[in-house]
């Protein structure tokens, strides 16, 4: 066998596997497109899925420090309490964004992301209360958009310090408001109010929700003023 023949033979052998590889790729691409079409409801099919979540941040009130040391430096603790609030706030921002604002979650009844904020025992309870803690399983069938608008959503913190001045437990009181437009053109004010207890669990990074008491007070509302633009 000459070298040329070997090369030709090799090329000939490669043509068949390439053809076999292309076919499954095409099939998978078609499958993905079909899946997106089925899952997306009224959402876009081609061009990258759902819209991004609208930008959202809670307004954070000054935190209250609760001291357990009789001779605590109140100013120092107050500053530490604000630091704790700064550490925790992104967790709560993300929790509410994922639970109420991110179309890729509420359109598809996919709220798995929110449970990462909870300690394991609390997460299992949170899963049982997903309808209260999120926009709900059927939100994708009901709503077109959810808009936090000019946020009137607020967080206020109370932080308990141990006698050494280390933050032990934080309670964050939440008032979250958004406006959801239904597919039939009516509007629902989404209101979530409650408290979350957070601790720094041994062996875990950051603050984790260990208990909560959350209430929903949704109600019918008028369309937002024309200047407000729905973000999702």
């Amino acid at each position: 066998m000459t070298p040329n023949r070997v090369q030709r033979g090799a090329k000939k052998k490669r043509r068949l596997p390439l053809a076999l590889l292309i076919a499954p790729v095409v099939l998978v691409a078609i499958g993905v497109a079909v899946l997106l079409a089925l899952r997306g409801g009224g959402g876009p099919i081609i061009g990258g899925g759902d819209e991004p979540a609208p930008p959202f941040d809670f307004i954070v009130k000054p935190a209250t420090a609760i001291s357990t040391a009789p001779d605590a430096d109140e100013a120092e603790l107050s500053a530490s309490a604000d630091e704790v609030a700064q550490e925790i706030t992104p967790t709560i921002d993300d929790l509410y964004t994922n639970a109420f604002l991110d179309p890729s979650n509420w359109r598809h009844d996919d709220y798995e992301e929110i449970f990462a904020a909870f300690a394991p025992h609390a997460a299992s309870t949170a899963e049982q209360s997903v309808e209260t803690l999120t926009l709900g399983a059927t939100a994708g069938d009901v709503f077109d958009t959810v808009d936090p608008g000019k946020s009137k959503s607020k967080l206020s913190y109370q932080v308990l310090f141990d006698p050494d001045g280390e933050p032990e437990t934080a309670v964050v009181s939440v008032i979250f408001r958004a406006t959801a437009e239904r597919k039939n053109g009516t509007y629902l004010a989404i209101v979530s109010e409650g408290e979350f207890f957070l601790r720094q669990i041994d062996g875990e990074e950051g603050w984790t929700i260990t208990a909560f008491d959350v209430m929903r007070d949704d109600h019918e509302t008028e369309p937002p003023s024309p200047s407000a633009s729905p973000s999702a």
Partner: protein
């Protein structure tokens, strides 16, 4: 449709109590790091050799010791002016309070027969625990001790206790002057209410019941405030920690406080071991009714709760009926 539900609530704090407790108790190994030369209030595990089970699977027994130490005295070197077993059934959100008359003439381990209030003087809280355990057969999980000053301060820190004063009181010795009815008592008045025995027909028996009444009031208030604003729990815990000392981790103190928020105060049985009074060697003593003592102790042992059949008559019955 579920998303249209106007008002719904995930009231999971109470439901989470057991889980919260179980979760954090595992990590509750660091002492709070707060010590005081003359502790005003202490809460400690009753035994060093085992960890109390706080997951709701068994009752929790707390021996509450009121020392007659004045502000300038060490609580441990005085007598136990009041003794109560607080038994909590976390799973059922219920509790029982059993007062032990301070003059109860009992066997104090290593000391011999004596009034039970002397156990604190002879061996501190540990000996009081041993004595009560020997008397009742119940194994205590914690003991908590307070003196006059810290009791007052704690009550003031939570803005007073709302107490249903069951009958009029007028006692110069304790400065207890109350009309019957629901009223908010500040620390000074709560202490007076707890100390009054001179104008009670059954003396210390009736006083012990009234002290239990304060505990029930505290539990009711804690629950009420917690339900209204869960963050109030932090104020209560802070008040306790600020006015006392403990080797418990803050997590565990919080867990116990959470446990307290779950108790339905309306269903707390508040009783006192009955007995008769007499003299032994010049000492005025109480001989406990052994049959009732055994029945109550046995009843508490299984689930921490007292059956109606084992609830003795109130020592304040003549006043309550009046």
């Amino acid at each position: 449709m579920s998303v249209l539900a106007a008002r719904r609530r995930a009231a999971l704090l109470v439901a989470l109590v057991a889980a919260w407790i179980a979760g954090s108790a595992l990590g509750a190994t660091q002492p709070a790091g707060h010590a005081s030369a003359a502790p005003l209030f202490q809460l400690e595990p009753a035994h060093a050799e085992y960890v109390p089970v706080l997951d709701g699977s068994k009752p929790i027994y707390v021996l509450v010791i009121g020392s007659d130490a004045r502000p300038d005295q060490e609580v441990e070197s005085q007598r136990a002016d009041s003794l109560h077993i607080l038994s909590i059934n976390p799973a059922e959100h219920r509790a029982s309070i059993v007062g032990i008359p301070r003059d109860s003439y009992v066997e104090i381990p290593g000391v011999g027969q004596n009034k039970i209030d002397a156990a604190l003087f002879y061996g501190g809280p540990d000996l009081v625990v041993q004595t009560v355990e020997q008397l009742t057969g119940l194994k205590m999980d914690y003991w908590a001790m307070t003196g006059f000053a810290s009791f007052e301060q704690m009550v003031d820190d939570v803005d007073g206790l709302v107490v249903d004063v069951p009958f009029a009181m007028s006692d110069d010795a304790s400065r207890a002057f109350f009309d019957p009815g629901v009223q908010r008592l500040d620390g000074d008045n709560a202490l007076a209410f707890a100390r009054n025995r001179h104008d009670l027909p059954a003396g210390d028996f009736g006083r012990s019941e009234n002290q239990g009444r304060l505990m029930v009031a505290a539990l009711a208030q804690l629950k009420k405030e917690f339900n209204k604003d869960p963050a109030r729990l932090l104020i209560w815990v802070a008040s306790f920690v600020r006015n006392g000392t403990t080797t418990l981790a803050m997590d565990e103190v919080l867990d116990l406080a959470f446990t307290g928020t779950a108790i339905n105060a309306n269903k707390v049985e508040n009783v006192v071991f009955p007995g008769g009074t007499g003299m032994v060697g010049g000492l005025s003593v109480v001989t406990l009714n052994q049959e009732t003592l055994d029945a109550i102790s046995k009843d508490l042992a299984d689930d921490g709760l007292l059956k109606k059949a084992n609830v003795p008559p109130s020592p304040n019955e003549p006043l309550l009926e009046g």
